[in-house]
Amino acid sequence: MTGPTEPAPDRPAVVGRGRLGRWRDQAVALGWLVVVWSLLWGDITWANLVGGLLVGGAVLVFFPLPAVSFGGRLRPRALLVFAGRFAVELVSASLHIARIAVQPGYRPRGAIIAVRLRVPTDLILALTAEAVSLVPGTLILEVDRDAGTLYLHVLDTHGPADLDVARDRTLVVEQRIVRAVGSTAEVRRVETTSPQKGTRP
């Protein structure tokens, strides 16, 4: 990666967290696993709860997950904004792709662009990649975790202007995710950096 590299964001959430936070993460994961188990069985009984606890515990012990730093807290309103925009973009992008798929004799052009995220922590990177991959005519090809850069394939471009549009759209998705789950410092970083500056690698 050439060009000015921003210093990698410090990740204090993992280091200074200690055993208590680790236990809390495990408990939250166990809770979700029990919920999934109950949904699979279809109803909530004591047998299902105990069975879910046993199976979930076994999964956590035998297949441990890497620690994900969750520094921020959930903001319900921002989360709703994100979910709403996500649904709208999912529908419009799907209709767009469906339209160019059935349009006779149309050969869509594509491009591969690099988008450097402003908050390249693991959580934000993964969530943005998931959301972007599901939403507009974009597809994640490669993730550079060290540089916090996503490489996207954009479908149906008509020139360099469309590339910038796609790049800005990705950064807006990142902004909504940071507003929903990011820490206060991350939100400040996203709000102060304008999408046009410092995003091209």
Binding site: G42, L90, A101, E130, G137, E142
Partner: protein, 120 residues
């Protein structure tokens, strides 16, 4: 009354989901290279399956089944991008793309050997 409306909405979303899947199928067959086919396969497909699930939920309307349908939807939404990314990366690395259809390739400018996430 409400049951009838839910039935009709359910039928509507079932047909809409099937239509989107059909468009995705046309795209998978028609698009020129593997990467564009990925677009057709992931996007209208995900929404198509979600709409079909919504149709099922609107027609079944029992809480137990709703939980399981929700689970299928969550699995679809969370696994589709991961699979798509792995397929996309394999397609790029094996050179399965038509360079004549690309406006830009900033991944090639990165140069080989710099860090990448995960195995394979």
């Amino acid at each position: 009354m409400i049951a009838t409306i839910a039935d009709w909405l359910g039928a509507g979303s079932l047909v809409a989901g099937a239509l989107l899947s059909l468009a995705a199928g046309v795209g998978v067959l028609r698009f020129p290279d593997a990467l564009s086919r990925m677009h057709a396969a992931t996007k209208p497909q995900v929404l198509g399956v979600l709409l079909l699930l919504l149709g099922i939920a609107l027609r079944l309307r029992t809480p137990t089944d709703l939980g399981m349908i929700l689970l299928v939807a969550v699995f679809q939404l969370s696994t589709a991008p991961v699979a798509a990314q792995m397929i996309g990366r394999a397609a790029y690395r094996s050179g399965r793309l038509d360079r004549g259809l690309l406006d830009a390739d900033e991944l090639a400018e990165r140069g080989p050997g710099s860090g990448s996430a995960g195995p394979a």
